[in-house]
């Protein structure tokens, strides 16, 4: 679309857009480095800052996914049809996730097989008491 020579019809753009071998290898190296980043984040931070680890790893995964889609799946070089197919699916996937979030809190507080989560687990999950709910011990446990 943006390239002037890419004005052929469907199916004739085999050479119109794709990366070079060098580019692919660079992306591959980046993906491997990012895998090690997740791994060492887990090794170094998982015991002290769990929520931080989760955030880092999800961010790293999203970057990796973008790299794969842009370069390996050639979306970087495709015409605007790519938005028609990818954006609706992505939106639905994201909304599905968002719609499920209330269930997490609900499960954590109510069903859970009749068990109440331990204080340790609550701290691990970054869960805070609401003012109304009865709590045997305050978090941070200073008595």
């Amino acid at each position: 679309m943006t390239e002037p020579h890419d004005t052929h019809g469907a199916g004739e753009h085999a050479h119109a857009g794709h990366g070079t071998t060098k580019q692919y290898l660079a992306v591959c190296a980046a993906l491997m480095i990012l895998t090690f980043v997740s791994f060492f984040t887990f090794r170094l931070l998982h015991n002290t800052q769990v929520q931080m680890t989760w955030a880092v790893m999800m961010a790293v995964s999203c970057v990796k996914a973008l790299l794969v889609m842009l370069f390996f799946m050639h979306l970087k070089w495709e015409a605007s049809w790519k938005y028609v197919l990818t954006i609706p699916a992505t939106i639905m996937a994201i909304f599905l996730m968002i719609a499920l979030i209330p269930d997490i809190k609900w499960r954590f507080e109510t069903i859970a097989g009749g068990r109440t989560p331990s204080e340790e687990r609550k701290v691990h999950m970054g869960y805070e008491h609401e003012p109304g709910t009865p709590a045997e011990t305050e978090q941070g446990g200073g008595h």
Partner: protein
Amino acid sequence: MTDPHGHGQIKLQYQPALPIPNGKLFLWLFLSTEIMFFAALIGVYIVIRFGAPDWPGPSKMHLVELIGAANTLVLILSSVTVVLALDAAQKDNASLARLWIAATFLLGGLFLGIKVFEYKSKFSHGIYPALPHSRMYEKPDVYFASAVRERLRVLYARIDADRAEIASKKTNLLAGPQTEDVQRQIKDLDDRDKVLADKKAEYEQAVGPVAGDANASAHALMELSKRIYPVHDEHEKNAEGEAEHESIGLNDKYPELKLPFVVTGGNMWATTYFTMTGFHALHVLAGLVAFVLLLFKRLDRTRAGIVENVGLYWHFVDLVWIFLFPLLYLF
């Protein structure tokens, strides 16, 4: 729809809806549904995991993070080889394209091989996706206690049956003439009997009296479970995230025991782990089938579209693993 020029003849010009081949369009539509499929699985996993009152860490479930990381690297490499195969096919270099597809096939096979190894290590520890094989219990309750008793009963009955057989053989031998050979056989039988008796005594001592006690407290049962299958809590780890002491459980020391054990949240963990990695492995398998079919074709420029479509699918499989790896191994 009136023709402003009044010719009464409408010239329709047919154009594809999207400027891509039908195969590629189909594949992208298929991938859109696949995104939804895995988004649902991952979403449910997140709800179950973060809403759970307890969730076992990877070390409790014998999940080795390094193996998962290695598998990630294998899949990334296979993504590169398939993209290089497409490149070669577009340049009309059929033999090189086939070589890259073969390499991709091997890497995909390696991924599945590692997965099988992982699954087997789960199974050998009594971690299965469901009953009747799963030996995991949620709580140190009467069900767990009776399962341990039942397992011990079966084990002891087997040993007792063996000993009874030995005893009857010995009686037969004693009734006959006492040659030197018979004397030697009797001595052999005595030795075997002693080994079995020692084994039973060893098991009884290792398991302890708790298993036989119908009124054992939950705490005592939990201690028993920890001797059978040691679990390390997060706070027992040092800063590097490694368990400080790798204690051996009874199930590891005596593999034939196969005693039940308690891991709170373990069954839900197993269900989600096997469901997600299982569906992913099925997708890998489908990819391998596609690669085999490609290997029988001449992958020149005319077939570049097929290579591209299979490649797109394969990258998607890689993409899913990119999210599964941290979610399952590192969270």
